[in-house]
């Protein structure tokens, strides 16, 4: 006769919280198919017009390309820097490891606007790089903490004895890493990679200072569009990005499980 471990009010608040969380996400996916230009209840009909509108818009097409290009380059760069850093933090024995860890996580605590202006100041003073490369540099710095956190958590859970065994059996350091450690870092790489990718794709507050006439990103274009037009084109974009998020969540669930994924965040 085990009693329920929580009361009805916990369930009630949680149910409302879940509705609150999902309402806008579900709503915007339906709104993307709304036939009218404005919101009406009930909707006038269903259409794919706003999706077509999104893809026919030159600014959105350019933004789509550069956003995925930037996120696609930032993700491997950030992970490639994070793997050795995480190993240095967890397995290293030099002084200043704690400081390195703190410094690597610091971009998380700095408001995006501040980071954005800092990079704007730096790049405009140095006058280097196009908007595309400036965004990649700034977003790599910004997303590094997500990758480092995931990999440090992952490494903490690994048994160094496995790698040691490989070394004892004659594997070089590099080979032991490649065949023993790296495969075990898969969940951390996946979790970190997804966070980095989504943060790079979705970033607004830093990117807004670094986009230029040639390079623009999806959040920035969506923002400009919302200010100028009132129709569900951005809802169409949103529903595609949300679908991507759902696919990623299912991927996480299959590879590591959702509750384990959180420990890696």
């Amino acid at each position: 006769m085990k009693a329920q471990p929580y009361s009805r009010s916990v369930v009630a608040v949680s149910t409302l919280a879940m509705l609150f969380l999902l309402a806008p996400v579900v709503f915007i996916m339906f709104y993307a198919f709304n036939e009218g230009r404005y919101f009406t209840l009930p909707p006038k009909g269903l259409t794919l017009h706003w999706f077509a509108n999104f893809f026919e818009n030159d600014r959105f097409r350019a933004a789509l390309q550069s956003s995925f290009g930037i996120a696609g380059l930032v993700t491997p760069t950030s992970l490639a820097v994070a793997v050795p850093s995480a190993i240095a933090i967890v397995r290293g024995s030099f002084r200043g490891r704690a400081l390195l860890n703190a410094a690597l996580l610091s971009p998380l605590m700095i408001p995006g606007v501040v980071t954005g202006i800092a990079f704007l100041g730096l790049f405009s003073q140095l006058d280097v790089g196009s908007g595309f490369w400036r965004l990649i540099a700034a977003l790599t710095c910004f997303t590094l903490p997500f990758a480092v956190r995931a990999l440090v958590a992952n490494l903490h859970g690994l048994d160094p004895a496995l790698e040691e065994a490989a070394r004892n059996l004659g594997a070089g350091r590099w080979r032991a890493f490649l065949h023993v450690t790296l495969p075990q870092l898969r969940p951390g790489l996946l979790a970190g990679g997804i966070f980095v990718f989504v943060e790079a794709l979705d970033n607004f507050s830093i990117s807004v200072f670094l986009t230029d006439l040639k390079t623009t990103t999806l959040p920035i274009e969506a923002y400009n569009y919302i200010r100028d037009f009132d129709d569900p084109t951005v809802a169409a974009m949103a529903s595609m990005l949300i679908t991507l998020a759902v696919v990623l969540v299912f991927l996480i669930q299959r590879v590591t499980g959702l509750d384990r994924f959180l420990d890696l965040k």
Binding site: P5, Y6, V13, S14, A17, M18, L21, P24, V25, F27, I28, Y31, F39, V81, P84, S85, I87, A88, R91, G92, S93, F94, L100, L104, M109, P111, G112, V113, V114, I117, A118, L120, G121, L122, S124, A137, T140, C141, L144, A153, P160, R173, V198, D202, L218, P219, Y223, I226, V234, A235, A238, I242, V249, I252, Q253, L258, D259, F261, L262, D263
Partner: protein
Amino acid sequence: MTIAGYPARGSSDGRWLALPALAVLGLFFTAFAVFAIVSLLHNVSGTASIVGPPSLDNYRAVVGLKLNRDITLDTLWLALQLTGLCILIGYPLAYLMARTPSRTLRNLILFALIVTFLSGGVTRAYAWLIILGNTGLVNTLLKTAGLTPLPLVHNRTGVIISLVHFLLPFFTLTLFGGLKTVPASLEEAARNLGATRLRSFVAVTLPLSVPALIAASTLTYAVALSSFLFPDLLGGGRNPMAANLIYQKILDAFDIPAAAAMAVLFLLIALACVGVLGQLERLVQRRFPTTGRRA
């Protein structure tokens, strides 16, 4: 001599592995150093060129303006209210996730939180704009029900609703990480000894979850402080927070030095607030050393 087989073996202690990170951090901190210097210089009005001599004039101008002081204080206060709301809504949710025996339910809540988290800022701000707008979902429903429509956007209400939605996954996911390390058996033991459910929660689980609660609140507060997009879109330009003020400085005047001075001050205030909360976390951690560690 270390636990790791790694460094002890070779001549190196693993410090070379930190080189790529140092390069990135170097870039990051160079940007901040340049930025601090720029904040001391002057903008030649109408151009993008920045000249010396260095002075504290920008800082004086920023602090001197009452509007800046008011909005900064207001931002600190609003972030506190938002964190409070997240605790009220997020704690029960995280608690249910940590205690439910049903894996399906836990995964369902996690699914909702992570999908919301991953579905993007502009996307969600836009969704709220349509839901809360004057002819939006909520007001259409109200009108159909014969009630008066409510002003929910271009005011504080819209900013708060949308920001709580934005912050809730940060808060709940972080709290859940700590809450699940508090053993349910302790609470059960209290109940077996005759405590009511509420009492066993208040006397056992709540105090043990304080470190995780502070960790989650600190993160939420830091993210809330730097809100930019939601006050801008849902507040209709009439409810700026500190970050909006800085952005305006760049947009209106392209005055990078003045914006940099504002940003430096804002950064210091934000770091001080987060630092105080972090100190509090360490203090509590010392009192309850074994539990509620952040995952």
